[in-house]
């Protein structure tokens, strides 16, 4: 349980992966289109919903790689 004193930090190269889900949804020309549709959903809607999955994947990877060993 006890962790050594003073030698830990938040720095990890894995943190850079979090940039992906921050930047992707903020580039509207990627998704501002009707075609192609998926199950009737215009691209605008299904692609943004798909970004959620990307966000989950990136944060999960960073969590697994940076969590503390107990």
């Amino acid at each position: 349980m006890t962790t050594p004193n003073g030698d830990r930090s938040d720095h990890s190269p894995w943190n850079w992966l979090l940039i992906v889900p921050i930047i992707l949804p903020l580039i509207p020309f990627l998704y501002n289109s009707d075609e192609p549709r998926l199950l009737g959903f215009p691209l605008f809607y299904w692609l943004q919903l798909a970004f959620i999955a990307i966000g989950v994947a990136c944060t999960t990877i960073v969590y697994q790689m940076t969590k503390r060993r107990r």
């Binding site: 006890t2 938040d10 889900p21 501002n32 009737g40 215009p42 919903l49 969590y63 107990r70």
Partner: protein
């Protein structure tokens, strides 16, 4: 005989069930006593992954979200979908920031973001500004929860303000009794109900309306027929910047709200927060699907309820449920929305009360307040905050509370330099931060004041989309006012800092040390410092 009798009975029964849970919650994970802010206001700081997931989720996705976001899609189309990128962007941003806040707060016993600012910048003034900003921004947010309940009640044919006053009195009583444990426990019921309702809705309703494709086509047909230039199921060239800045600005604002920070500080350790930041987007998916209820309402030809000659767009989703579901299921759906209002309202009032107690009462009125005094004052203030929110609804036009909420988002962003950037750097001088806050706040109010909407006859405070042509630019593009105001704030804070450093103005002591930002549960630093910090 009211034609909505079945709905009313089911709604009332579920409402009473969760109220009972709210009172029992005081005994859940029983502490030795509730007479301290750590216990009453942060649930003992011991919530694990599941409780935190429900608590933070229940806190961020409110009744108003379920009612207003689809109403926005119903009325304006694609622009309303900004809520989805907003809830995607927010988690990775806070992933790194909030674990630092958690650590430093546990080392020093901070309960509010203003506590942190006070210690970091040695500035009671900046802490007071952060506290006031938080309280002011939270009040209309609570009032909007009432708007959500009102929309449901209206759809059941229940009019008048008495039912809302009763509902809030019950809420106030169990929050007083159980503190943060009450919304944490109720959030389980709330989210279960909402997941059931939404899953049924997104399967059953499109099936009855001829599939998703025809729902989107019906929405497009409606927007094609309106004269408004900004609507449609896609964005146009002029509102794309608005869309992304609103998503980004809202994401930055979200975790500056005191109630979101309360939910995070209540968790047991850093990994609980990190795990949640990857699990919370499950709600984003839900939110995206709920948003699309707005288009389903278009395809189903739902009309909002008209009261006193004004259509109330907030009744769109309740009306859609009423039209599509059998009465008993509509009752469950209404209960989900109604209970969905109680959880965030409780957390928000607790957060606002903690701010008042720690950063105004203890700081300026009674510096030697004991733990029990603090808990007592917070309990009373949480009652007053709810009374204030009810008065907002009773005496102000609800349209006006929506404007207040809009202003709330812009003003809470002005605490970003001190709170969020403060977690990373102490470069800013306290004088610069105060100057930046004043400038950002002024700029934000000026921008919002100058946003008019001729279509509804409002000249000021009619939205958050600021047209860049008003700054002399030759374009029809609009941008979220909060982001512009924040830019002004940051610029002034930076210039002020340089001036203050050049003039060698006194800069207080930083009570935190770099390693405080990484401390975790079971860490010796937390235990050592707990003994020495008051």
């Amino acid at each position: 005989m009211n034609e909505h009798l079945t709905e009313i009975i089911i709604f009332t029964a579920l409402f009473l069930l969760v109220s009972g849970m709210g009172f029992v919650a005081a005994r859940w994970r029983r502490p030795e006593n509730l007479a301290s802010l750590d216990e009453w206001g942060l649930g003992g700081r011991s919530f694990g992954s599941w409780v935190t997931w429900f608590l933070v989720g229940g806190d961020l996705y409110t009744a108003y979200t379920f009612v207003a976001v689809p109403a926005l899609l119903w009325g304006a189309g694609a622009t309303g979908f900004f809520a989805v990128p907003y809830t995607i962007v927010v988690y990775p941003i806070v992933f790194l920031v909030l674990i630092r806040l958690w650590s430093v707060s546990h080392v020093h016993g901070f309960v509010t973001p203003a506590d942190f600012v006070r210690a970091r910048f040695d500035s009671p003034t900046m802490a007071l500004l952060v506290a006031i900003t938080g309280i002011v921004a939270t009040m209309p947010y609570i009032a909007l929860q009432l708007v959500g309940i009102e929309a449901v009640l209206k759809s059941m044919g229940v009019t008048g303000h008495l039912p809302i006053v009763i509902a809030f009195a019950i809420l106030a009583a169990y929050t007083y009794q159980s503190g943060l444990r009450a919304p944490a426990l109720i959030a389980f019921v709330k989210d279960t109900l909402i997941y059931i309702v939404i899953l049924v809705a997104i399967i059953a309703i499109p099936a009855r309306l001829g599939g998703w494709g025809s729902i989107f086509d019906a929405a497009q047909a409606k927007f094609d027929a309106t004269p408004a230039p900004g609507d449609g199921i896609l964005l146009n060239g002029n509102n794309q910047l608005q869309y992304v800045t609103l998503a980004l600005g809202s994401a930055l604002a979200l975790f500056l709200y005191p109630h979101s920070i309360t939910g995070v500080l209540a968790s047991r350790n850093r990994d609980v927060i990190k795990r949640n930041m990857s699990a919370l987007p499950a709600y984003s998916l839900l939110l995206g699907l709920i948003a699309l209820l707005g288009y389903m309402a278009i395809a189903a030809g739902v009309k909002p309820i008209v009261t006193e000659g004004k259509p109330d767009n907030n009744t769109i989703v309740p009306q859609l449920f009423d039209q599509m579901f059998p009465d008993w299921f509509t009752g469950i759906a209404y209960a989900a929305i109604g209970i969905g209002a109680l959880v965030p309202a409780a957390i928000m009032s607790i957060a606002a009360a903690n701010l008042f107690t720690r950063n105004i009462y203890k700081e300026y009125l009674k510096p030697n307040a004991s733990d029990a005094d603090e808990a007592r004052i917070s309990k009373i203030v949480s009652l007053l905050v709810k009374v204030g929110a009810v008065l907002c609804i009773l005496f102000l036009d609800t349209g006006f509370s929506i404007d207040l909420q809009l202003i709330g988002g812009v003003i809470i962003l002005q605490t970003l330099p001190a709170v969020a950037l403060g977690l990373y750097t102490r470069w800013f001088h306290r004088g610069g931060l105060i100057a930046g806050w004043v400038a950002g706040m002024t700029a934000g109010m000026l921008l919002l004041y100058n946003i008019g909407n001729p279509a509804i006859g409002k000249l000021h405070f009619a939205g958050s989309a600021f047209p860049l042509e008003k700054l002399g630019l030759d374009t029809k593009t609009t941008i979220y006012a909060g982001v512009l105001a924040l830019a002004v704030n940051l610029a002034v804070a930076a210039i002020g800092t340089v001036i203050a450093r050049t003039a060698e103005l006194a800069d207080g002591d930083d009570a935190t040390r770099p390693d405080h930002y990484f401390a975790d549960e079971g860490d010796p630093r937390i235990r050592d410092l707990d003994l020495t910090t008051p």
